[in-house]
């Protein structure tokens, strides 16, 4: 049973408001170690500089989208085991399938509640304390 406080999280979304919302939800779950990135490239840069346990990334981002980020994370040894939860604007089967193909750990449809977020994270890491 992992301590929520131990999960280092990186939030990647091009919208500040979305990042803030996700961060607020994570904080409510006791996940306080969060960092933010405004696009896929930013996120990759942040991950290479400092690893994380969990990346919550939007699919739709400029420069490098969520799938690209996911693929880069998986392709790079040191980050390849980072958990990735993909945010999608709607339940898009094709998109989720592609994300699965690239090794996504879970996905989350916007808008979501803190409870849903919790379930999605627990499905990856096991119950949070």
């Amino acid at each position: 049973m992992p301590a929520a406080a131990a999960i280092k999280t990186l939030i990647a979304d091009d919208q500040q408001s979305m990042r803030s919302l996700i961060r607020t939800s994570l904080n409510a779950l006791g996940i306080n170690q969060t960092r933010e990135a405004a696009d896929g490239e930013d996120a990759l840069r942040a991950l290479l500089a400092q690893p994380a346990n969990l990346v919550i990334t939007d699919f739709n981002m400029p420069k490098l989208d969520g799938l690209g980020l996911l693929r880069a994370i998986r392709a790079h040894g040191p980050t390849s085991k980072t958990a990735v939860i993909m945010l999608t604007g709607r339940a898009d089967r094709e998109l989720v399938q592609r994300a699965v193909q690239f090794g996504v750990n879970n996905y989350l449809v916007k808008p979501f509640t803190t409870q849903t977020l919790k379930e999605k994270i627990e499905a990856v890491f096991g119950p949070l304390e």
Binding site: T24, A49, H76, P111, G126
Partner: protein
Amino acid sequence: MDPFESIKATFFQECEELLTDMESGLLAMEQGDDDSETINAVFRAVHSVKGGAGAFGLEELIRFAHVFETVLDEMRSGKLPLTDEVAKVLLRASDVLADHVAAARSGGGVDEGRTVGMIADLQGLIDQDRANELGLNDHGDASGADEDFGFVPVVLSLDEPATDAPDVDIAALLSAAAEPAAATPTWKVIFRPRAEMYAKANESALVLRELARLGDVEVSLDASGVPALDQLSAEAAYLTWTIRLSGDKSEAEVREVFEFVEDDCDLTVVREGEAPEMAAADGAESDASASAVEAAAAAPLDLEALLARVAPTAEPAPLEIPPAQPVAAAPVAAPAPAPANLDVAGLIALAEKASQDHAQAAQTPVAKADPKVDQKAEARAGSGAATAATPTIRVDLDRVDRLINAVGELVIQQAMLSQRVFESGLARSSDVALGLEDLELLTREIQDSVMAIRAQPVKSVFQRMPRLVREVADMVGKKVRLVMDGENTEVDKTVIERLSDPITHMLRNAIDHGLETPEEREAGGKGAEGTVRLAALHRGGRIVIEVQDDGRGINRPRVRGIAVTKGLIAEDAVLSDDEIDNLIFLPGFSTADVVSDISGRGVGMDVVKRSIQALGGRISITSEPGKGSKFSMSLPLTLAVLDGMVVSAADQTLVAPLSNIVESLTPRAEDVHLIGGRDAVICIRDTFVPLIDVGVALGFRDTPLPPASGVAVLVESEGGGKAALLVEAIQGQRQVVIKSLEANYQHIHGVAAATILGDGRVALILDVDALVTTSRRKSPRIEKRMAV
């Protein structure tokens, strides 16, 4: 503020940017730009608006955005082609979306009828069967039910640090995503030389070259283990190669290549798709890989440079070596510490390729080799790189204003200090005086920098205009294309805020009066669609805004006739074409036979002119019959500082804006004449201009100053009228910080603002235009008629 509310406020700020992006994308699409990147950008903007709306439960906004987004998605996937008609519908939809955002922001309502109509129009773009399929006709269930798709979350353990060799077979993953798998069996070779191998003078490059003889190879280098330069040991080995070898060779044949180095390296040879055993095999040596995360953190990765390098090529070159070339290329360069970079560059290239793959997968396979499109893409890539290089921060406007104010005070304090020191009789060469000079330079530099912070592109005003043009054009039944230029021209925030009204009015005027109806245009041999060009540029330290139409031009005989009828000019007045054109700025002049709703309710160009003059601006018109007209207005770049001439009148220190001053002279008594016994005029080079005694005009004293004992400052108002201001003395020229009088006291006729001088005293800044106008008309102006 409640954190949720504050996030919501952020969201609405983002919406403004998103709506701008959306509109500029749509405008490009209207011009026929059906580049996938453009469509994608528009889609992303609408998508983001909807996403945020979902998070904040803005139902109305979600409902509309959903339909809009769905239509854009159809375009994105190539199912709905871009036509003129489609672009027009999308543009109107963008206006409705903007209304919805505004309504959500203010908590107000939206025009329900318009929304429903717009949704119907959007749905109309999509084939009915397809619309049903998309669920578009059920009034957009945008909630996005969390369908399962039989998705099984991939479980991870937190306890196990994610550092060792990956479980996921990347190469397989990549090949699965990119190309159909090769029919021939593929070997995956992981080759990690140890230091001993190099010590025995073996060379990885030679080994790799040997391997390449067996078949097609794809070599990738993992240099993440390379430490920072100062920790790099020349004797140690840090690099790992992963080679994919296709060709009908047995494992023994592959291993044979490594015969001489096998004992001095870690070698894994597996068939593609099988998990490599390396992690288990080298448990003892895993310290190197265990610290891989730290290594990744410590490696000096210059990502900016890498991204820049990756961008233009777009090919993941560093990772793949075409079999035809000698394999040595990569390995030879490898032992240097720099190649740590290669890996990241490769990653990004790979990742970009993944995105592209996805984008292509989402699109119908249309091979597009239009060189124009490519150029556009390149141009965009270029500008994108430029944007990336200049990161921005969002700062509260209040903070900037506080800074501006503080700097204004600093400038004043500095001037006061200089003056005190100067008055105290210290030598110019003294340390204090020299230090003060440096301080002055620095202060000026800070002031300039702060002003630059406040400078904003006129885009924020321009971006509202396409919608205005569409609406006005619809209302008067004309076809108009708006072309905008110089949107990135920067001007001070205070000026920007006040540009909107005059531009709005000039555009309305251009469409309503300037352009002909489509029928008239066609009859006149022009295209049915008129063009209005809105441009901004810097010229001579001012910003110039131009509104140009290709319409009928000024009807000079008619303008002249009206001016005569209204008694604005004498019947026999001899006027140049230019002068006739500029008659339209005279108060009370309106050429519209029927005062339309568009150009204002009986408010003519004179009001526009006045509101521009109030900003220290000028407006003029040039016109060519049958070809169109051009309005140019020029404004100062800032309203915060002013170059002024400090003068004294009736024991008061006053400032006259330098931009108004033509010359100054000492009047001779014989040049001054009284008209009607009280109004003085002065003859300057055979021209009579009113002589205004500033002390009297502002009510500082009742008795006029004898002209010969003062100085006359010849000024020209923004309207072109001239007058001579009679003052007692000129003190000097100075840059002053403008302090609003209205904000601190109230408006005073003849006074534009105030400032604080070096000696700490308040000095009034003269409103030259008001003084000149009053002197010329001798009648109180009708103040502040509403500008449109």
